[in-house]
Symmetry: C2
Amino acid sequence: MSLDRRSGCPINLSLEVFGDRWSLIILRDMIFGGRRHFRELLNGSIEGIASNILADRLKRLMELGMLTKADDPSHKQKAIYSLTEMAITLVPILAHLGAWGRVWLPTSEELSIRAELLEKGGPPMWEKFMNELRHEHLGLPADPAAGPSVRATLQAAYEAVVASKAQAASSAA
Amino acid sequence: MSLDRRSGCPINLSLEVFGDRWSLIILRDMIFGGRRHFRELLNGSIEGIASNILADRLKRLMELGMLTKADDPSHKQKAIYSLTEMAITLVPILAHLGAWGRVWLPTSEELSIRAELLEKGGPPMWEKFMNELRHEHLGLPADPAAGPSVRATLQAAYEAVVASKAQAASSAA
DNA sequence: CTAATCTGCTTGCATTTTGCAATCGGTTGC
DNA sequence: GCAACCGATTGCAAAATGCAAGCAGATTAG
């Protein structure tokens, strides 16, 4: 379940890590959606991952060093998954990927608003976001002068688009 | 053979385009290796793609608008594949992907030197490279004051590492 | 106390995708 | 003429994926 190592090319090896249909989706939901539990990931992703695939990918991502797993102290049956630094440094790649997809692919408006804001925010916003993730997942100290979190900002923008679309739909009816 | 459209999320849609083990490898070989013909791609990639998979992916990438195909005027049986603007704008993503892989994965030295230079060159180098690709693949005018091509620069660095490794091996024997 | 619900998975099975090797009809260089 | 090369295609085995159901233990609502 580790790397095949078809070649030592950095692009090839990166593809061996998340060049499948689900690994990066899981990481996206953890990073941007703040999901930490199995069921949250299972029911939360709009693409509808199957539970056996999710279990397999979580295991694989742990073996590759992208995730860690711990007991949730509040619930003896809950496992809590955390991003490692290796996964947190994917943020710029996800930002670029979102920006590219927004330009060239038939994205939906409400789901691309986050990508748009993240692109406009640029590297400074990505750095701030990565520091917030380090705080949440690695226990590093939070920036005391931080203001609203990047995730909350993106989420608020998403909800505003959803609300304005609902408004437009109801006034049309 | 077009997009499944599991969701309208930009990251998801990007993954549906090149979130498999081969599509991005083919694009890498066209972009960085300058390959334009079926056989070049078949025999050129160190990962060893199978001919049926290559044929399938070329077809798929054409349907998605990432590649075009034309007759090679010098040979009635040769087809020449070209990158579209959509594919050329992947250069920054490939650069980030290479940089990430170089940090976190067991890359080989000779194959990661290109990623290192591309990372050091930053956005200005990426832009120059993209313009060179636009000249090669889209027929846009070349920058008259350009100097050596980015691809040639990267290739020379790769060959220098290979040569120095061969030197070290022979002096050890 | 008890029943329903929730927890992170696992199992069995059908379908789809991939990988491998051989091959094809046509073109080209010698 | 003939070997090498062109972009594929075919047949088949192996692996990955998708789907629905189920599992044992923990928790919670009534």
